[in-house]
Amino acid sequence: MSLVVTPGWYMTLAALLFAIGALGILIRRNALVMFMCIELMLNAVNLTFVAAGRALGSLDGQMAVFFVLVVAAAEVVVGLAIIVAIFRRRQSASVDELSEMAG
């Protein structure tokens, strides 16, 4: 028996990981954990990029992953700086306490 791992398997795994990340965004209140869930979803998307690129015989999928990685790194830097700035002001990282616009 020789089972071949097709791109569909990677896509299925990526769909599951993306759903887990989306679920985390919906149920967690801690801004840091929500941020980690965003990273989880970005990684799921990267996995589909690599799988599709391999299936199509093109390196463009991996190039896209490279740029997503760079943008995600920049996003993490700015996002964590914002969370730290909010924490300094509010002494809390819970998104529920940020529901009003007043500073």
Partner: protein, 187 residues
């Protein structure tokens, strides 16, 4: 067969890590779960011959990004208990339903959708093999994608400057009082 075994192991590891991220009460455990997922995905990249991307994944994500996350967790403090009261009625159950529907739709699309993978480049061996080595990726990166590459350099500079601007604290303006102490304007 080897690919199947490694895929199964790494799929299990990444899903376990993902569930740990959203289930753990302590943010440090969440970070550890994310770390496991990132490493498992790096192995899956190697499995798909994306060697350079796998290396970058470990260095940038598992190295730099996770260090930053743990640093901020330690800065903010891990001992704060998360408020688990539901502000929206049945929020958890609804979220679980939405997540299951999203996962089911994704899987159904992959399993039942009529995708046909048409290789853009067909090697003599039949199936297209794209070996993502550094040399192979450098060629498109510095020809077709060079504008995007330069734009990311600009983006990273702006992000670093923005983070410094956001995180810096200015001294309060009170220090403008002259060192001789507060005196009236008429003196």
């Amino acid at each position: 067969m080897v690919e199947l075994i490694v895929f199964a192991l790494m799929a299990g590891a990444s899903l376990t890590g993902g569930v740990t991220v959203i289930r753990a009460r302590n943010p440090v455990y969440s970070a550890m779960g994310l770390l496991a997922t990132l490493f498992a995905i790096a192995v899956l990249y190697v499995l798909q011959l994306a060697h350079f991307v796998a290396a970058v994944q470990v260095i940038v994500y598992a190295g730099a990004v996770m260090t930053l996350f743990l640093f901020v967790i330690m800065l903010i403090g891990v001992d704060k208990e998360e408020n688990t009261a539901e502000t929206i009625p049945h929020q958890r159950r609804l979220a679980l339903a939405v997540g299951l529907i999203a996962a089911g739709l994704g899987i159904a699309l992959v399993a039942r959708g009529r995708f046909s993978w048409v290789p853009l480049v067909v090697t003599p061996a039949g199936a297209a093999q794209t070996n993502g080595t550094v040399q192979a990726l450098a060629e498109p990166m510095f020809t077709d994608w060079v504008l995007a590459f330069e734009a990311t350099a600009l983006l990273l500079t702006i992000a670093a400057a923005g983070a410094i601007a956001l995180a810096s604290t200015r001294k309060p303006i009170l220090s403008r009082v002259p060192p001789g102490g507060e005196t009236g304007p008429g003196s």
